[in-house]
């Protein structure tokens, strides 16, 4: 199944990716990372289509898409 990986060291928890995902697969973690932000994560199983739009809008290049 397609999926995304969020690099928690890069993600600043801005949530822009959640607006870009056409299927609302992405949510924010409720645990903050070492950098003090709440990073994005793939929240639903079998949801991602690998379209890559989240990576298009991510300002921190924190998202890697696999298809």
């Amino acid at each position: 199944m397609p999926e995304i990986k969020v690099d928690e060291k890069l993600c600043k928890g801005c949530e822009l990716c959640t607006t870009a995902c056409p299927k609302q697969c992405i949510a924010m973690s409720d645990q903050f990372s070492v950098t003090g932000y709440y990073p994005a994560k793939l929240a639903k199983q079998d949801c991602c289509t690998g379209c890559g739009l989240c990576a298009q809008i991510c300002p921190d290049l924190a998202i890697t898409v696999f298809k």
């Binding site: 397609p2 999926e3 060291k9 890069l10 600043k12 928890g13 801005c14 949530e15 822009l16 959640t18 607006t19 870009a20 932000y37 690998g50 890559g52 739009l53 989240c54 990576a55 298009q56 809008i57 991510c58 300002p59 921190d60 290049l61 998202i63 890697t64 898409v65 696999f66 298809k67």
Partner: protein, 257 residues
């Protein structure tokens, strides 16, 4: 399973120091990808401005020079005329390009210098802490117009693409945005075109990018996206204002009129 996207070689592989949600990261990635895809990275010289993106010299993986506030296009002129085989781009914010650097912007366009200018318009001064910019909207609050910008005290915001479209030397002018993934893809097309124009020797190209500044707008990143569509785009309609082949084009999206 295949990896769809990767870190572009035009960008140094290190975390960006901009605020959460800041649009600079998106445009940095786009430029980095263009340098890679057009195969020009090793002959490109970039100019970092004064403002938040003063850090651009750390991020773009090509030769970089950081100059005085607003003088990017003049520095670019010096580099391009000395090394015409190089690809030269100036990366500037609204204060840098449209306030203190307006003379350099206008005159490099008038001379039709064969350079590429990336212009980030977020309607505020970022690095210095949210002062009024030349592109700050009427009614918008900033730390030097705390009760909101008024025509009486502060005058009107400047539409850079429309202004430069009066100049014959400005060969390619387009205003884009980064508030949705689809707009980001369009912005990349425009920036790629602006570099291609330089490769083809077509003269002065400028791409304006509407960009969010949640920190100094006092909004969350998600609220900031709405601010772009509801407040900025009516004032700053997206579209192509000049191309090398045709004269002035018309705005295609978002215009108030």
């Amino acid at each position: 399973m295949q990896q769809v996207n990767k870190w572009p070689s035009g960008l140094v592989n290190k975390p960006l120091r901009y605020c959460p949600g800041c649009g600079h990261g998106i445009v940095h990635r786009i430029v980095g990808e263009c340098l890679e895809e057009l195969g020009i990275r090793e002959r490109t010289v970039g100019i970092a401005p004064v403002g938040c993106s003063v850090f651009a010299d750390e991020y773009f993986n090509c030769d970089m020079i950081q100059g005085p506030h607003g003088r990017g296009p003049a520095i670019a002129t010096g580099i391009k005329r000395s090394k015409p085989e190089c690809i030269v781009f100036s990366y500037q914010g609204d204060g840098d390009l449209a306030s203190i650097g307006m003379a350099e912007t206008v005159h490099s366009a008038a001379r039709s210098e064969n350079i590429t200018v990336i212009f980030i318009n977020n309607a505020i001064y970022g690095m210095t802490g949210g002062q009024m910019a030349p592109t700050t909207l009427i009614g918008q609050q900033a730390s030097t117009c705390p009760r909101g910008r008024t025509v009486q005290a502060n005058g009107y915001p400047i539409r850079v693409c429309e202004l430069l479209a009066q100049l014959e030397g400005a060969r390619y002018l387009e205003r884009t945005s980064t508030h949705t993934a689809a707009h980001v893809i369009k912005a990349k097309k425009a920036i790629r075109q602006a570099f291609q124009n330089q490769i083809d020797g077509k003269g002065f190209s400028l791409v304006e990018v509407l960009s969010i500044c949640p920190t100094n707008w006092g909004l969350t990143p998600l609220q900031s996206l709405k601010f772009v569509t509801e407040k900025m785009m009516p004032m700053y309609p997206l579209g192509v204002f000049r191309t090398p082949d045709a004269a002035a084009g018309a705005a295609t999206e978002g215009g108030a009129a």
